[in-house]
Symmetry: C2
Subunit: 146 residues, 2 copies
């Protein structure tokens, strides 16, 4: 089994494995963009509010692809464009994103996510399939925008 670009010997701890893949400032934001905001193209992700640089975005996409979290193809409708999508492995990070969002909603003094919504997310989490979690997170995103 190839483990791409391994810069440290992994300790065997599950947290360490995950952080080898997405332990940086940008990767989970890319996954959010794909999962929650349904972005598909490079330009769309570049346009997110956080202001990622193109070389960093390109490098993160490559890494996530190398580790099997995303897949890419040339868009047949316009071959200049690449379409990125989460693999199942990538989609299954949805509960991680939910928990992070719940934690942040509680602790970010500037949060715009309402507490009742978060309590519901926590209560219903077990029944959520990953696509529905994506909808959940999308609603969190919309709630934030209000």
């Amino acid at each position: 089994m190839t483990r791409p670009g391994r810069t440290h010997i992994l300790s065997g701890c599950p947290i360490d494995y995950a952080l080898e893949i997405f332990g940086d400032r940008w990767s989970l934001l890319v996954i959010r963009d794909l999962l929650v905001r349904r972005k598909r193209h490079f330009r769309e992700m570049m346009d997110s509010d956080e202001g990622i640089a193109s070389n960093i975005l390109a490098a993160r996409l490559k890494k996530l692809e190398d580790w099997g979290l995303i897949a890419r193809e040339r868009d047949p409708a316009n071959r200049r464009q690449v379409v990125y999508a989460l693999t199942q492995k990538g989609k299954e990070l949805a509960p991680v994103l939910v928990e992070i969002a719940i934690w942040s909603a509680k602790h970010d003094p500037n949060t715009k996510v309402n507490a009742a919504f978060i309590r519901r997310a926590r209560r219903d989490r077990e029944t959520l399939a990953s696509e529905t979690v994506a909808d959940y997170l999308a609603k969190l995103d919309e709630a934030k925008a209000r």
Copy 2:
């Protein structure tokens, strides 16, 4: 409200808030050490398998303290030593660590965490208080070691 060391304007997205605090290779490993492995001293965290450098560990501890996830005090029994502990804000990251561990256990081909254990973690998660989650994760850690 002071927001320590803010290097980017936060987008308002809960994922972005969290990544501002712990979006790096090492911070969640530090939190794991405190929460799961019950480590309390600098030297103990330095000794974790992943091999963090002392300047990075010191910087991460400072950042986590600045953001209110950990607290520190001189150990009255030995004033050379500093005791670090998670605050409530820090402890409430336990469900995030559980989800990351579950994800990794499923996707890390070298995982030593058994699947039945993970299914149980998923099923029981809702009833777990953060201290019990810490025990859970500790058991995951032990299972890994076997």
